[in-house]
Amino acid sequence: MPDLLAARAQMGTSLAFHIIFSALGVGLPLLLCIAEGLALFRKDKTWMMLARRWTRAAAILFAIGAVSGTILSFELGLLWPTYIKFAGAVVGLPFALEGFAFFLEAIFLGLYLYGWDRLSPRAHWLCSFPIWISGLASAWFIVSANSWMNTPTGFVIKNGKVVDINPIQAMLNPSTPYETIHMILACYVATGFGVAAVYAVGMLRGKRDDYHRKGLMLAMAMGVIAIPLQIISGDANARFLVDAQPAKLAAMEGVFKTEQGAPLQIGGLADPNTGKVYYALEIPRGLSILATGDPNATIKGLDTIPREDWPNPLPVHTSFDGMVASGFFTLFVALVFWFLYFLKKRTIPENRVLLWAIVLAGPLSFLAIELGWMVTEFGRQPWVIYGYLRTKDAVTTAPGLNISFLVFSLVYVLLSVALIRLLLGVARSPLPKVEIPGNRQKPERAGA
């Protein structure tokens, strides 16, 4: 394949792989912190067992997150030297701040993972706070850099040179509040439903003990708080794009022709060659209402944008609808779960259909993250820095990009296989024996 395509494929694969671990890196430490806190304050062994088990998974997942993140930081230069020359100059700062947040995360992670037998219970629990706080900060900083690529600010171009750089203004560019919040919430949604799916599988296999119920409950609690906020945040993002990136919005919604009272196209295939959306479910005036609140509002179509500046609406529209659909599915599952929970006087519902829906919601939440990134990345094309630098002008001149893509793909396959085998092994291994100092002993429950 051409070098540009190979470089994009390698970058895309790297991001798609890393994003799973970064989402868990933001969400899982909060679950750990809550579970260990409940264990200490309620003197409850089950919560402690959950915290110990999650720690083992976290050690593996975070290590893979650290190395796959390193790949990305190298690739910014190795694949896109022209991009990093520009972006490094203007938004290097959030990358550096993210570096510090990652540093603190790694330090306290080391203390947390290996300190169970060395630190006092309270000191150990306190070590979980810097982990989730810096995970949150990392996500914010790194997504602010991506926001800048969508709405670049904080510099002036004079005689082809980037001057008058204001790094703070670049970091706080117009997209930052929308994108960062959307991604952080996505991390909690995906972690919540991802962990819930693990315990739902266990319960479907007949392990309906306290351990599985508590694991499911805490994960679903995180999910049910995050998912409605996420849908509100998604709506705010789309409204923001009306003026900030009309080309992206048009591609997301499959709008080819500028229209007053534009319909909402649900599903379907947006064909850029014919300028039509095939097989879509059409809701009259739906898009105008959603995007602006006014049923007669005009929505800019791709026809207002020069053809060479079009993103490809086919993957953007399809990814967007896939993301929204899985968002609403998870919302529905969470609401049914908590409705039944309170209806049945605070007992965890164990309905098989509901458990199966939770099993499905886990992977779908991660899929939604992947699709969301496809929307924002494909939707920004052909630009890497919107309006300033085209992706094709940013790629390296180094040869052998096809080989590089092939080698990295093999590395990802190898890591994925090893990781899945290892995590399944962890899930099957017997639960750790735990003690809570000075507690009233509860009988230990079996489970795996």
């Binding site: 083992r56 593996i60 290590a63 893979i64 650290a66 993140g69 390193t70 790949i71 930081s73 190298f74 910014l76 230069g77 190795l78 030297p81 990093i84 020359k85 490094g88 100059a89 290097g92 700062l93 990358f95 550096a96 701040l97 570096g99 510090f100 540093f103 603190l104 790694a106 330090i107 992670l109 080391g110 203390l111 993972l113 290996y114 300190g115 037998d117 060395r118 630190l119 006092s120 309270r122 150990h124 306190l126 810097p130 750089i165 204001n166 790094p167 703070i168 390296t396 001149t397 180094a398 052998g400 590395v411 890591l415 090893a418 990781l419 085998r421 290892l422 092994g425 962890v426 750790p432």
Partner: protein
């Protein structure tokens, strides 16, 4: 003193931190390759015990270097990325396999089974390869052969980083990492009361140190022809540092010989710092000799000042945290707050 020079000095300190911390982790991986025979399992456990809590934090120094470099000197970073595409890509794959190999072998369900053994090999082989390619890349920069005068940089498939000089420095990077690790592992083994392991790593530290010295001397001999700018600098402004590096090297060997292990650990850290310091000092004022200087590659001063302020604030949070991490796991002599009262755990206990 310009802000760019301050930024580069800070990055150089970061490089030293990565070398003495991350470098030692690579070195431990190298020694893992040599762990055979009846004591093999005890050596694996000692290495797991030494690396486990700290390797991820040590690794972040590399991220600090990369983001610091592209924020403060974006054009230099772009040139290095293009010119050293191949060795840096190989080093990157090495870094990835080292980290994942380590975690897959330590957390394997059957820690002595075939899967764990295979990942052990991946871990140690990657630990051997990575410092070599990083060292060779550094030598390619120091030799001043990465052309960029006309702004057109060519990706180089081997002419700058496979010279005798670059190969020597690559090999020296391996032996330096191995020496650092051997000294640290001697201290760890002694703290765990594993006297025979401590003796073994003491001997290995002496051998690796001697190899590093020989390779260093060879590198010096090759510099007049292969890295003239570096050689000029080494003879002039960096000369005191070069002499100090040699003397500290001898002192490290002596303290190992007399079994003053904690002193040896401090000395080998100093040794590494002086070695890297002499490189930086000799090629001043260039970042990439012979064309790219600190000032010509520097970003807008606004950004560098913002970066330095952020680093200052970041360090206020980072340094106490790092000290706490190391005092809990590495410095039994300085008791940290929050420690458990009971006796310490057995090495290799992970969950």
């Amino acid at each position: 003193m310009s802000v760019a020079l301050i930024a580069l000095s800070v990055l150089w300190l970061g490089l030293i931190a990565y070398a003495v911390l991350g470098g030692a982790d690579f070195g431990a991986g190298i020694w893992d390759l040599f762990a055979v025979g009846s004591q093999a399992q005890r050596q694996h456990e000692l290495i797991n015990h030494a690396l486990g809590p700290v390797w991820e934090a040590n690794h972040v120094w590399l991220i600090f270097l990369i983001v610091g470099l592209f924020t403060a000197f974006p054009s230099a970073f772009a040139i290095l990325s293009i010119a050293l595409f191949l060795p840096l890509t190989i080093a990157l794959i090495g870094i990835v396999l080292r980290g994942s190999g380590f975690i897959f072998r330590t957390y394997a369900i059957d820690t002595v089974g075939p899967t764990a053994r295979w990942w052990s090999r991946v871990f140690s082989t990657a630990s051997l390869a990575t410092p070599f390619f990083l060292g060779a890349s550094a030598a390619a920069v120091a030799s001043g052969r990465i052309e960029s005068s006309n702004g057109n940089v060519q990706a180089d498939l081997g002419s700058t980083w496979t010279t005798p000089f670059a190969l020597t420095i690559g090999a020296m990077a391996i032996s330096l990492c191995a020496s650092l690790a051997a000294v640290y592992l001697t201290v760890e083994a002694r703290n765990n009361h594993e006297e025979s392991l401590a003796e073994m790593y003491r001997l290995r530290a002496l051998i690796a140190g001697a190899v590093t010295a020989v390779l260093g001397a060879l590198g010096l001999l090759l510099s007049p022809s292969e890295a003239p700018i570096l050689w000029q600098g080494l003879l002039t402004r960096a000369l005191p540092v070069v002499i100090a590096t040699m003397l500290i090297g001898l002192a490290t060997a002596a303290s190992l010989f007399f079994r003053k292990y904690s002193l040896a650990r401090i000395l080998i850290i100093l040794e590494t710092a002086f070695l890297l310091g002499s490189w930086g000092l000799s090629q001043y004022p260039f970042i990439i000799p012979p064309h790219v200087t600190i000032d010509s590659a520097a970003n807008d001063p606004n950004v560098i000042v913002a970066l330095l302020i952020s680093i200052g604030i970041g360090m206020v949070l980072l340094l106490p945290s790092l000290y706490y991490l190391f005092s809990v796991f590495k410095l039994p002599s300085s008791p940290a707050p929050g420690l458990q009262k009971k006796e310490e755990s057995t090495p290799g206990d992970l969950s």
